[in-house]
C-alpha cells in the first residue's frame, strides 16, 4: 500500500504535466526523425536492407526513453528537496526499498510512455520489422531502469537545479548522443569505435535495435550483460545511498 501510493503519486506527478513530460519529447524526436531522415537518409544504409529512416527510429526512441527516465526521478527528487516537500515522504514509515522501487518504476513508466509515443509517431517514416519483441521489451525496461536509478542518484546528490543540469548536460547527454543513436558505430574511426564500447548506453540502444531489426553492432547477449550489470551496480549504489540517508536524512 505504501509503495503503491508513492508509485501512483510519482506517475500522476508527470502525467499532470504530460504536455511537457510526454508530448514535448515525442515532438523533439519527431523533428530529429524528420530532419535527419530527409537530409541524410538517401545517402546512408546502416545495415543491409535497413533504411536510415528505419534505423533512426529505435535510436531516437531509446534516447528519448533514457533521457525521460532520468528526468523523471531526478526532477521529482530535486523539486521535493528544494521546496522541502520531501519531508512528506521521509516522515512516513516508507522503507528505503519502497522509496527506491516507487521512483524507479515511475521512471520506467514515463520512459516507456515516451518511447511508445516516439515509435508511434515515427512509424510514418518507416516500419521496422520488430523482429525480436522480447529483446525489444527487455532493453526498453532495463534501459529505463538504468536511467531511473541514475536519476535517483542525481536527484539525491544534487542540492540545486544547476547541479542537476550539469549532471544531465555533462554526463547523460554525451553518453546518449555518443552511443549510436544517429549512426552505426562501424562507421566511426577505430578510436571512437573502441571508446563507444565503454559506453553502456551504446549497448542499450544496440540491444534495442537488435529487437527491431535482428541485426546489431554487438551481440544482444553481450549488450544484455553490460546493461544488466550496469543496472545492478547503479541499483546497489542507489539503495546504499537511500539506506544511509545520504543527503536526505542528517
Amino acid at each position: 500500500m505504501r509503495f503503491y501510493t508513492l508509485l501512483q503519486k510519482e506517475i500522476l506527478r508527470f502525467w499532470r504535466v504530460a504536455f511537457q513530460t510526454v508530448a514535448a519529447p515525442v515532438l523533439t524526436a519527431l523533428l530529429y526523425q524528420l530532419i535527419f531522415s530527409h537530409s541524410i537518409g538517401q545517402h546512408v544504409e546502416p545495415y543491409p536492407g535497413v533504411s536510415y529512416a528505419a534505423f533512426l527510429i529505435p535510436g531516437l526512441a531509446m534516447m528519448s526513453m533514457l533521457q525521460n527516465s532520468f528526468a523523471n526521478a531526478s526532477s521529482s527528487l530535486i523539486q521535493a528537496k528544494v521546496t522541502g516537500s520531501i519531508v512528506f515522504i521521509l516522515l512516513p514509515p516508507l522503507s528505503y526499498l519502497e522509496f527506491f522501487l516507487a521512483h524507479l518504476l515511475a521512471s520506467i513508466v514515463r520512459g516507456l510512455v515516451v518511447g511508445i509515443g516516439v515509435i508511434a509517431v515515427t512509424l510514418f517514416f518507416a516500419m521496422p520489422p520488430f523482429s525480436h519483441p522480447v529483446w525489444l521489451l527487455l532493453f526498453m525496461v532495463l534501459g529505463c531502469g538504468v536511467m531511473g536509478a541514475l536519476g535517483i542518484i542525481g536527484g539525491i546528490w544534487a542540492e540545486k537545479f544547476d547541479q542537476l543540469a550539469g549532471f544531465q548536460n555533462f554526463i547523460i547527454m554525451p553518453l546518449t548522443f555518443l552511443s549510436g543513436v544517429f549512426y552505426s558505430i562501424h562507421s566511426l574511426p577505430p578510436f571512437w569505435q573502441a571508446l563507444s564500447h565503454w559506453n553502456p548506453v551504446f549497448y542499450m540502444i544496440d540491444g534495442f535495435r537488435y529487437g527491431c531489426f535482428g541485426v546489431s553492432d554487438a551481440s544482444p547477449w553481450q549488450s544484455l550483460a553490460v546493461v544488466g550489470v550496469t543496472f545492478a551496480l547503479l541499483a546497489g549504489i542507489t539503495l546504499q545511498m537511500l539506506r544511509s540517508g545520504y543527503k536526505l536524512r542528517h
Binding site: M1, R2, Y4, T5, L6, Q8, K9, L12, R13, R16, V17, A80, T83, G84, S85, V87, F88, I89, L90, L91, P92, P93, L94, S95, G245, R249, H250
Partner: protein, 297 residues
C-alpha cells in the same frame, strides 16, 4: 509507558554541538511545550523523532518504539507538522491527504480526511490545488497531513506561524479536543502565551541543553520574583523598604516580592510608618518573562 523518551541525545554537526545529552520524557496525554530561542535545538530534536535526523549518540522512543530500530512503528505512532511551509504543487488538498494516508498504509480514509478538513476550516477547499491556497491554508493542510493516520503522538513545530487569529483559535480548539481524546501533543512555538494557555508541561532548551523541565504551574510558581505595585499616601517609603524598590517614584512604587510572606512584611512596615495605601497590585510573571529570565541565566 511514556509517549516520548529522549535518553542522553547528542547531535553533532561537524564541530557544532546541536544537542548535548538531552534527556526527558513526555507522558501520554501531556500537552507539552518545547521552548527555546532559535538555534536551541528544538527542531533537531523533533527531526530525530521523525527520522529526518539521526542522533550522534543516545536513543529516542515514541510509544516505546525506538526511532531507529523500530522506525516503522515509531513513525506510525507520531504525526509531525514541520516548521517550514512546504507543499506539493501538483495536487489538490484531498489528493495530498489521500497520498499521505497511503504512505502510512491507510486506504479509504476519506471520512477522517473530511472530518479533519471540517475542523481546520478547509472543507470547501478540498478539491483546490495546493498552489492556490493562502499561506495560512497551506499551513493548515500541513497540520492535516500530520493527522491523517490518527497518531497517538502529535508534534507541532511552530504550527500557527502565519495563521490569522480566528483560525488559530479554531486550530487550537481542534488540537485541544485531540488532546482531550487522549492524543499526546508536543508543541514548539514562539507565541509563549499559547504555550502558557494550552500546555501542562514545559521544557526549555538553550544551546542544545535542557535547562528546564517542569509542570507549567511549578515553573510559573518559582519563576522570577513577583512584583508589587503600590500607590501610597506618602511621597517616600520607609528606609527598610528601599532595597526592595525596583521602580516608580512617589507616591507610586514597584517593589520586588520574593513570596507571599514578604507581602505581610511590607504591609507591616507601611503601617508602622503610618503610610496608607490607595492602590495595590501583585503581578505574577508570565511565561514570556520566565522564558527571558531563564535564557539570560
Amino acid at each position: 509507558m511514556s509517549a516520548i523518551v529522549f535518553d542522553r541525545i547528542c547531535k553533532q554537526f561537524g564541530s557544532f554541538s546541536a544537542l548535548d545529552e538531552v534527556s526527558f520524557r513526555v507522558e501520554q496525554g501531556d500537552f507539552f511545550a518545547l521552548l527555546g530561542p532559535n538555534g536551541a535545538g528544538k527542531t533537531t530534536l523533533i527531526s530525530i523523532l521523525g527520522g529526518l535526523a539521526r542522533a550522534t549518540s543516545g536513543t529516542a522512543t515514541v510509544m516505546g518504539y525506538d526511532v531507529v530500530q523500530d522506525y516503522r512503528a515509531a513513525r506510525s505512532a507520531i504525526g509531525i507538522v514541520p516548521q517550514e511551509l512546504v507543499f506539493d504543487p501538483f495536487f489538490t488538498v484531498r489528493e495530498t491527504l489521500r497520498f499521505q494516508s497511503g504512505y502510512f498504509g491507510i486506504r479509504h480514509n476519506d471520512d477522517w480526511i473530511d472530518e479533519i478538513l471540517l475542523n481546520i476550516g478547509l472543507a470547501e477547499k478540498a478539491d483546490t490545488n495546493m498552489r492556490k491556497l493562502s499561506g495560512g491554508m497551506k499551513r493548515r493542510v500541513m497540520v492535516a497531513q500530520a493527522l491523517v493516520h490518527r497518531p497517538p503522538v502529535i508534534v507541532l513545530d511552530e504550527p500557527t506561524a502565519g495563521v490569522d487569529v480566528e483560525l488559530r483559535q479554531s486550530l487550537w480548539a481542534f488540537i485541544r479536543r485531540l488532546n482531550e481524546a487522549g492524543h499526546t501533543i508536543v508543541l514548539t512555538t514562539h507565541y509563549l502565551e499559547e504555550a502558557e494557555t494550552l500546555c501542562n508541561r514545559i521544557a526549555m532548551l538553550k544551546q542544545g541543553r535542557l535547562i528546564a523541565l517542569e509542570d507549567k504551574d511549578t515553573l510559573m510558581g518559582h519563576g522570577s520574583a513577583r512584583s508589587l505595585r503600590i500607590v501610597t499616601t506618602a511621597q517616600a517609603l520607609p528606609d527598610s523598604l528601599m532595597p526592595l524598590v525596583t521602580g516608580g517614584s512617589g507616591p507610586e512604587f514597584e517593589l520586588k516580592l520574593a513570596d507571599c510572606c514578604a507581602l505581610e512584611d511590607i504591609l507591616g512596615e507601611l503601617r508602622r510608618a503610618g503610610i496608607g495605601l490607595k492602590d495595590i497590585e501583585v503581578t505574577k510573571p508570565d511565561l514570556e518573562e520566565i522564558f527571558v529570565d531563564m535564557m539570560h541565566r
